[in-house]
C-alpha cells in the first residue's frame, strides 16, 4: 500500500467537515480586503489626496509596528496597508487551524486510528490536511486579488496582495505540519505553531521600527517576507520563491518526523510522573489550575515580551515630528485623546486587550472540551456541584485574562517610561481599564457554553467580529450602533484622556449578567 493511499478520500472528508467554516473565513477576508480598498478610494479619490492625507503614515512608528511600512503613498497603497498584515495573519491562522485539526486533533482523539487501519497510508492524513490548507490559502489569495481588481485599482498590485496571502499561509502550513509531529497533544502543537507565528510578528515589528542593520532582521520572519511583497509599491512577486522553498523544507522535515514516530505519539515521549497526586490536586479548582497553568505561563511570558516591545516602540513615537495633521489623523483613527504617545499606547493596549480576550475565551471553552470528551462526566459524578466545576475554569479565565492585562500594563509602562514622559501608573491603569471589555468576551463564552453547548465555539466568531469592527468599522463608515456592538468600543481613551465610566460599568454589568445566565443554564441542562 502506498503511504499516500487514501489522500483524496481524506481530503474529501476534511472538506465535507469544514466546507462551511473555511468558506466563511475565506469570504470574510476577501470582503475585508475589498471593503478597506473601496472605502479608501472613497476617502482619497486621487493619489494626490492620499499623499496629502496620509503623509503622516509613512514614518509613524505605531502604525509601522502594527501593520508594517506603508507600501506606497498612493490611494491603493493606503487602502492595502491594513489588509497586508491582517491578511497575512488571517491566512496563517486559517492554515494552522486546518492542518492541526486534520492531523494531531484526529490522532489525539483516536479517529485517525480508525482510518489508518483502513486503506489509508501513513502520510495520507498529513498530506490531505496540507493540501486542504494550501487550497484554502490559494483560494483566499485569488479571490482577494480579484476583489481588489474589482475596486478599479491596478492588477499587478492586486495580484501582489494575493502573493502576500500565499506567502504567510503556505509557510504557516509547513510550520504547523512540523509542530503537530513534535508533541502528542493538540494543545502542545498549537502552542508551538502559534508561538512561531507570534515570534515572526514580533521580529518584524521590532525590525520595521528600528534603524540601521536591525531593519534587516525582518528577513528572518516569514511575516516580514509577506509584508515586503509590498503590493502597489515594489510588487516583489519573487518573494513567493523563498516562501515555497521554506514550505517545502518544512514539509520535508515534517515528513521525516512522521516516518520516525508512531501513530498517536509525538517525537518527545511522555515521561512517567508522580504516582500520587499533590495535595492541592483535590478540588475542581486544583484540577483546572493543573490543566491550564502551562497555558497561562506561556501567555504571561508572551505578554511580557510583547509589552516590552510595544513600550520600546513607544519611545520612538515621540521622535515623530509633532505635525498637528498627523496627530489629528491618529486621533481620528483611534478615537484617543492626549499626546500622540498616549494615543499610541491606548491603541496598543486595546490590541493586547483583544488578545487577553482570546486567552479568556480559550480558557473558558476548556469547559466545553472537557464536557464533550466525557471527562466532565467523571468529575460531575463525584460530589462536585455543576456551578463549582464551571467556576473552576471560569474564574481562571477571568483572573487569568485580567492578570495578562496587568502584565501588559506593567511591561509596557516600564519599558515606555524609560524614555520619560510616560507614567507607569497611568499605563497600568489604562491596561486595567480594558479588563471589563475582556471579561465580556469571557462572559459570552460562558453564556454560549451554558445555553447552546454545541455552539460554544461561536465565542471565537464574536471575538473575530469585535476585531473586524474595531479595525475596519470606521473605514467602512459603519454606524455607531453597529460599532458599539464591540465591547472594545466602550473603553474611553486612556491613558491621557478620560475613562468612559458609564461604558466600563455597563461592560461590567454585561460580563456579570452573561456569566450568570451561563451558569444558571448549565445547571439546568443535560450534560451533552
Amino acid at each position: 500500500m502506498s503511504s499516500l493511499a487514501g489522500t483524496t478520500t481524506l481530503l474529501r472528508l476534511a472538506w465535507r467537515r469544514d466546507r462551511w467554516v473555511v468558506s466563511a473565513c475565506v469570504v470574510a477576508l476577501v470582503a475585508t480586503a475589498y471593503g478597506s480598498m473601496a472605502a479608501t478610494r472613497d476617502l482619497y479619490p486621487t493619489d494626490a489626496a492620499a499623499a496629502a492625507g496620509a503623509a503622516a503614515m509613512t514614518d509613524n512608528a505605531s502604525l509601522t509596528a502594527m501593520y508594517g511600512p506603508l507600501p506606497a503613498l498612493t490611494t491603493a497603497g493606503v487602502g492595502v496597508l491594513k489588509t497586508v498584515m491582517f491578511g497575512s495573519l488571517f491566512s496563517a491562522f486559517l492554515a494552522f487551524a486546518i492542518v492541526r485539526r486534520h492531523t494531531r486533533t484526529e490522532e489525539e482523539e483516536g479517529r485517525l486510528e480508525l482510518l489508518a487501519a483502513g486503506a489509508v497510508g501513513r502520510r495520507a492524513a498529513t498530506a490531505s490536511a496540507v493540501l486542504l490548507a494550501s487550497l484554502a490559502v490559494v483560494a483566499t489569495a485569488l479571490l482577494s486579488a480579484l476583489s481588489l481588481v474589482a475596486t478599479g485599482v491596478g492588477v499587478s498590485g492586486s495580484l501582489a496582495l494575493g502573493v502576500v496571502v500565499v506567502v504567510a499561509g503556505l509557510v504557516m502550513t509547513g510550520v504547523t505540519a512540523v509542530a503537530v509531529q513534535l508533541t502528542s497533544t493538540t494543545r502542545g502543537a498549537g502552542g508551538i505553531a502559534v508561538g512561531v507565528l507570534g515570534l515572526a510578528y514580533v521580529v518584524r515589528a521590532l525590525a520595521d521600527t528600528s534603524t540601521g542593520a536591525v531593519r534587516q532582521l525582518a528577513w528572518l520572519s516569514f511575516l516580514g517576507w509577506a509584508e515586503k511583497v509590498s503590493p502597489f509599491g515594489e510588487n516583489r512577486f519573487w518573494l513567493v520563491l523563498p516562501a515555497l522553498a521554506a514550505t517545502a523544507a518544512l514539509l520535508l522535515a515534517a515528513d521525516r518526523l512522521l516516518q520516525r514516530r508512531d501513530l498517536g505519539a509525538g517525537l518527545w515521549a511522555p515521561r512517567p510522573g508522580p504516582a500520587t497526586a499533590h495535595p492541592r490536586l483535590a478540588s475542581p479548582r486544583g484540577l483546572a489550575w493543573r490543566l491550564q497553568r502551562g497555558s497561562l505561563l506561556g501567555w504571561s511570558v508572551g505578554y511580557a515580551v510583547l509589552g516590552l516591545v510595544v513600550g520600546g516602540v513607544a519611545r520612538s513615537v515621540d521622535q515623530i515630528a509633532q505635525d498637528p495633521a498627523v496627530e489629528d489623523m491618529l486621533r481620528r483613527m483611534s478615537g484617543g485623546q492626549g499626546t500622540l504617545l498616549d494615543v499610541f499606547l491606548g491603541t496598543e493596549l486595546r490590541f493586547l486587550a483583544v488578545g487577553a480576550g482570546a486567552y479568556g475565551v480559550a480558557t473558558a471553552l476548556r469547559l466545553r472540551s472537557e464536557e464533550s470528551s466525557g471527562r466532565a462526566e467523571a468529575l460531575l459524578a463525584t460530589p462536585v456541584r455543576r456551578a463549582q466545576w464551571l467556576a473552576s475554569h471560569g474564574v481562571l479565565a477571568v483572573a487569568g485574562s485580567a492578570w495578562l492585562m496587568v502584565v501588559a500594563g506593567v511591561t509596557v509602562g516600564l519599558s515606555a517610561s524609560a524614555a520619560g514622559d510616560v507614567g507607569v501608573v497611568q499605563v497600568v491603569a489604562a491596561a486595567v481599564a480594558t479588563v471589563p471589555a475582556v471579561l465580556v468576551c469571557v462572559g459570552l463564552a460562558l453564556l454560549l457554553f451554558g445555553l447552546v453547548p454545541h455552539w460554544s465555539a461561536a465565542a471565537w466568531g464574536a471575538l473575530a467580529l469585535f476585531v473586524m469592527l474595531g479595525e475596519l468599522g470606521a473605514i467602512l463608515r459603519l454606524p455607531q450602533s453597529v460599532l458599539g456592538l464591540s465591547p472594545f468600543d466602550h473603553l474611553g481613551s486612556l491613558p491621557g484622556g478620560d475613562a468612559n465610566v458609564t461604558g466600563l460599568l455597563g461592560l461590567g454589568v454585561a460580563a456579570v449578567a452573561t456569566a450568570a445566565v451561563g451558569v444558571l443554564a448549565f445547571r439546568r441542562r443535560d450534560l451533552a
Binding site: A277, A378, P383
Partner: protein
Amino acid sequence: MAPVIEAAGLVKKFGSTTALDGLDLTVHEGEVHGFLGPNGSGKSTTIRILLGLLRADGGHVTLLGADPWRDAAELHRRLAYVPGDVVLWPNLTGGEVIDLLGRLRGGVDPGRRAQLLEAFELDPSKKCRSYSKGNRQKVALVAALSSDVPLLVLDEPTSGLDPLMEKVFQDELAQARVRGRTALLSSHILSEVERAADRVSIVRAGRIVDSGTLADLRHLTRSSVVATLSDPVTPGEAAQWPGVHSARHDHGQLALSVETSSVGHVLQRLGALGIETLTCQPPTLEELFLSQYADRPVDGGSSTDAAQEQVPA
C-alpha cells in the same frame, strides 16, 4: 426497606430519538443487579439519569431515597461510578487521577488503594495518554473500588480487561457484595453477569423486557431434552404432550424442546417409556439473552458449551 434505586416510567428523548420509553428499574439494597440489553437500548442513558447528568423527560426516579437530579452532589458522596467510556486527562498520571477522584469523593484509603493497584497490576506513575484501553479502565475501577461508598454504578466496567483482570474484578465485586454494598452492573459479558448478579434487568429499545433472578428468567424459556428410549414413541405423538413445543428424530434419538417449567412432567412420561440415555439441557444464558434481545423465542440446546446434565439410564 426502600429500594436503593427505583425508577418508574422513565422517558428520555434526544431530539427525535426516544432513548428511554417508560423504563422501570428496581435495585434492592445489597444486591448486584445486572443491567443488560443490546447496543443503543438505553443502559448508559439510564445510568446518566441516575447520576443526575441527564434530566429525565418523564417518569419518576429515586436513588438512595433522594432525587438524583436535584440532590446530585449529596448523592454522589454515597456512590462511585465507572463510566462506559473511560476518558482521562492525558497529562495526569493514573495515580493522580485515582487520588483526585477519591479526594473529591471524600478521601482515599492508602492501604486499599495500594492493594487494588497491586491486584490490578497497574502502574500509577504512567501518564494517562500512554495507558492502553484496559489500563485506562483499571484506573477508573481502582478509583471507584477504593472509595468506601454504599452504591457502585458500573457501566461496562470490564470492557477492555483481559480475562485475568476480569477475574480480579469479579473477586472485588464479590467482596463488595459481602460488605453489603449495592451495585448496578451494566455489561455485555454474560458470564460475568451470571457469576456476579443476584438479579438482572433486560432492557430493549428503552423498556425493561424482563427483570428477575436468572432462575426466574430461565423459567420462561425452553430446555432441550434428548433421549434414547427402549420403547420408542413417534415425534408426532411426543409433540402432543403438554409443555412440549417441538419434537423430532435426531440420529435415532428423540429430541424435544420443552417449556422449562414442564421438564419434570415430560421426564415422567419418558421414564414410563424406558430411558436408556438422557440429556437435559437448560437454555444457556446466551440463548436466554438472544431471545430477549431479538424478541424471538430461541430453543435451548443449540450451543455446545452449555452446561449439561448427563443422566445415566
